[in-house]
């Protein structure tokens, strides 16, 4: 398991290669890269700055990874989230999950991504032609996370 918050870019290929190095028990690695877009809520975005809550961020991500491990038979998980100022096209977040089977890898990757959006203390501020603005949380993100609840 690897959980990192960093300002530097990450390398998807290197991270996935590290997960599978020397192993022959992995059947599937599902991964997700979120990128900064040039457009949000109808405005051009020239840049964004990601703020976080040091300490709690790592704790929240570790809990998410634990939850995923408790729900599915997984072999490895990597989560990397960037902070600081990012330009459109820059990668923001990487989630990669290795499992013996593809179904579990996919489900766990999407689970982590969905809860990261609603549980991990990161906030985005965008620079637009109308000035800077804090991104508002979206109800659709809560809905995406809620579909994982077990009744």
């Amino acid at each position: 398991m690897k959980i990192v918050v960093q300002s530097e870019p990450f390398d998807l290929g290197a991270e996935v290669d590290a997960m599978r190095a020397g192993r022959t028990d992995i059947g599937a690695i599902a991964s997700f890269v979120g990128l900064a877009r040039d457009m949000n809520a109808g405005s051009g975005v020239a840049a964004m700055t990601l703020e976080h809550y040091p300490g709690m961020t790592e704790k929240a991500l570790a809990r998410l990874v634990d939850d995923a491990n408790a729900r599915w038979a997984l072999l490895d998980i990597t989560v990397i989230h960037r902070i600081g100022r990012l330009l459109p096209g820059d990668p923001i977040v990487l989630v990669a999950v290795a499992s013996p089977h593809r179904g579990e890898a996919f489900a766990a990757c999407e689970f982590i991504k969905d809860f990261l959006k609603t549980q991990a203390p990161f906030w985005k501020k965008e620079e637009t032609p109308e000035g800077t603005r804090w991104v508002e949380a979206r109800a659709s993100d809560d809905a995406a996370a809620a579909r994982w609840s077990r009744d």
Binding site: Y53, K59, A60, V93, L116, A120, P121, F122, K124, W134
Partner: protein, 83 residues
């Protein structure tokens, strides 16, 4: 009790501070929020009933009826928008 209170993102900017140390006579997170609202201005606005904000105690998000332990690190912040 004494609390360390930290603010993030829009709340940090609107309150004009990133953190403060506070002597607090109440019991729950809701009591703390009420005590901050009394300051008026951005405090009253941002922490009004119905506004979306989160409270974390010692780095775990809690409900407003959670009791605050002495010396706690209490964070107040907008709904998160990372990922």
């Amino acid at each position: 009790m004494t609390l360390r209170i930290i603010y993030f993102a829009r709340l940090r900017e609107r309150f004009g501070m990133a953190e403060e140390s506070l002597d607090f006579a109440g019991v729950t997170a809701a009591d703390l929020v009420a005590a901050l609202q009394v300051r008026g201005g951005a405090w009253a606005e941002e922490l009004a009933a119905g506004r979306a904000f989160r409270v974390a105690v010692n780095q775990d998000i809690v409900a407003l009826d959670a009791a605050l332990p002495d010396g706690a690190e209490v964070a107040i912040f907008p709904p998160v928008t990372g990922g």
